[in-house]
């Protein structure tokens, strides 16, 4: 066969195609190869028309230390970068001191309030706020989890609890506060009640859906295997609902801080919210920002707590790849 100098694809088509169904098809190709003296050109065309991918063993996983060095701050990298940018912007005068305080000023305000806060120190405010948030979280979480379990496991529970929770979930916290104050007084009780509701609702909604969402085939398997109702609940339904429950817990932590903010800005005489209120009255921009930073830190810590819980409680799940921090 003649080989053209262009090396175009039609050049490799044999003058007489191999017979269809020929038992010696390899022979036919062999003949083609023997006929075609210009073998390298042939392989060139092969390489040009087929795209390849090569897979090899991944390079050895970087050690813990190496990973730490590569991304030393994990998920905190961006917040820290923003902080630096903020500081630089304040120094360069891009941000007017009338509308914002630089991170260093906020830090100074923190030290000042920590040492000589009036009427209460920053440490005292933090302690009061955290205690309120934690108490509300515990009370609301316990009630929400108990109600969700009852509702998830029985029709009666569902009928009892679903309606009230749906109603509560649609009412804004702010609108609830006057009622809470009327019922529980202006002291801590009304604040804790508000935080309880804000934390209890996401726990209820997520846990209820998680229990109902447990794979019905697993429930059927356990029943068929002769598991008692108690077994079914403790080994299938509740463990199966745990990932969803943790999602609810994550929201509950965030919402309890949210409830805290709302509760402490009205009728409080201590706490971070009260501190922000004071700062507003005296036009202390640095202290206002300090309050915001503290809430941000609370939110970040809450997220870390949930991550830790997930690592501890969901060991059976394949660990997510590339999770930071």
């Amino acid at each position: 066969m003649t080989t053209t100098d262009t090396g175009a694809v039609p050049a490799t088509v044999p003058a007489s195609p191999p017979t269809v169904g020929d038992p010696a098809r390899g022979g036919a190709f062999g003949a083609l190869a023997a006929e075609n003296s210009d073998a390298p050109e042939n392989s060139d065309i092969f390489e040009n028309s087929v795209a390849f991918e090569t897979f090899e063993a991944a390079p050895p996983r970087a050690g813990r230390l190496a990973r730490r060095l590569r991304s030393p701050l994990g998920i905190y990298t961006v917040p820290l970068a923003l902080l630096i940018l903020w500081q630089v912007a304040s120094w360069r005068g891009w941000l007017s001191p009338n509308v914002s305080a630089s991170p260093i000023e906020v830090g100074r305000a923190a030290v000042h309030l920590w040492q000589v806060g009036t009427p209460s120190t920053l440490g005292e405010d933090l302690r009061v706020s955290l205690l309120r948030a934690l108490t509300g979280l515990l009370v609301g979480g316990a009630i929400g989890a108990a109600a969700a379990t009852a509702a998830g496991l029985s029709r009666l529970g569902e009928q009892l609890f679903n309606g009230p929770v749906q109603i509560l979930a649609t009412v804004p916290f702010l609108a609830l506060l006057p009622v809470m104050i009327m019922w529980f007084g202006i002291g801590d009780a009304s604040k804790i009640a508000l935080i309880s509701i804000s934390a209890g609702i996401p726990i209820y909604v997520n846990l209820f859906n998680a229990i109902r969402g447990v794979d019905a085939r697993l429930v059927e398997m356990a029943t068929a295997a002769g598991a008692s109702r108690w077994r079914l609940i403790t080994r299938v339904l509740l463990p199966g609902a745990l990932p969803g429950a943790l999602v609810g817990f994550r929201f509950a932590l965030a919402y309890s801080v949210l409830g805290l903010v709302v509760a402490e800005q009205i009728n409080a005489d201590s706490g971070i919210g009260f501190m922000i209120g004071q700062a507003q009255s005296y036009n202390r921009i640095d202290e206002m920002f300090l309050g915001l930073v503290l809430y941000a830190i609370l939110g970040l810590s809450a997220d870390q707590i949930v991550r830790l819980l997930e690592r501890l409680l969901l060991t059976w799940r394949p660990q997510g790849k590339g999770a930071a921090a």
Partner: protein, 265 residues
């Protein structure tokens, strides 16, 4: 024995056979499975239409049938997962089901999965004993996600056998496994059958699987038993020989396959 009669299926959280279960003392000599005039409809489609079936103690029955012939429906009725629209199903209270998927709880270690339905102390010792029978004693503390498909199905088998059932129902348990693993599972099931004195009913599409395992092959057709073939062959005769080929051809014909076309396989 428990008798399941017709009623609407209940909420999943309750066992399907709630109010209509009558417990009857076992009379020696009664077959473990007795099905009389069972009807099951889904919408206006009648899947089982007056079906009768008896299974003798420690008999291995294979249920064949085309897709949609009601094999799985019958198995679910025997397992008490579903109730008939008419008729009566009597099965031993001590029974177990092996599903097509392993249905292991991913959040429980292997041995805890095995003992999901058993009560009593020494649960782990019990689990280890039966895991040993399926050759997975050393995986007792593993998480299910680390098992291969064949291993997971062996755990499911162990879970079924742990309660010493009088009846084991297997719903295409090996359909998702590769051919080699399936052959190993057949050997395993035969071995387990020799050890455990249980009646077994296995639903399958696979005619060869039926021949290898069955004491009796039942073909479902039009909601009833279309044909029955007692299989009295030795282990060797089940793998090759004229008797096997003949049975194979007849089973394929019952399933509506042109034997001439498939004979070469």
């Amino acid at each position: 024995m428990s008798t399941l009669t017709s009623s609407a299926a209940d909420h999943i959280l309750k066992p399907a056979a709630g109010p209509n279960v009558a417990t009857v003392a076992a009379v020696p000599g009664t077959p473990p499975v007795r099905v009389r005039g069972v009807v099951r409809r889904f919408g206006d489609r009648t899947v089982l239409d007056g079906l009768d079936l008896d299974i003798a103690p420690s008999e291995f029955v294979i249920l064949l049938g085309q897709s949609g012939s009601g094999k799985s429906t019958l198995l679910r009725l025997l397992g008490g997962l579903d109730l008939p629209d008419a008729g009566r199903v009597t099965v031993p209270r001590q029974r177990a089901i092996v599903f097509q998927a392993d249905r292991l709880l991913p959040w429980q270690r292997v041995w805890r999965n095995v003992t999901i339905g058993t009560s009593g102390r020494d649960a782990k010792a019990t689990a280890l004993k039966v895991l040993d029978e399926v050759g997975l004693r050393d995986r007792a503390d593993a998480w299910p996600r680390t098992l291969s498909g064949g291993e997971a199905q062996r755990v499911a088998l162990a879970r079924a056998l742990v309660s010493d059932p009088h009846l084991v129902l297997l719903d295409e348990p090996f359909a998702a496994l590769d051919a080699l693993t399936r052959l190993r599972m057949h050997d395993l099931v035969r071995g387990l059958r020799a050890k455990h004195d249980a009646a077994m009913l296995l639903v399958t599409h696979d005619v060869d699987e039926a021949i290898v395992l069955a004491d009796r092959v039942i073909v479902l057709r039009d909601g009833r038993i279309g044909a029955e073939f007692p299989v009295r062959l030795s282990v060797e005769e089940r793998s090759h020989g004229t008797a096997r080929d003949h049975l194979r051809a007849r089973l394929l014909a019952e399933l509506g396959l042109d034997v001439a076309k498939t004979a070469g396989h």
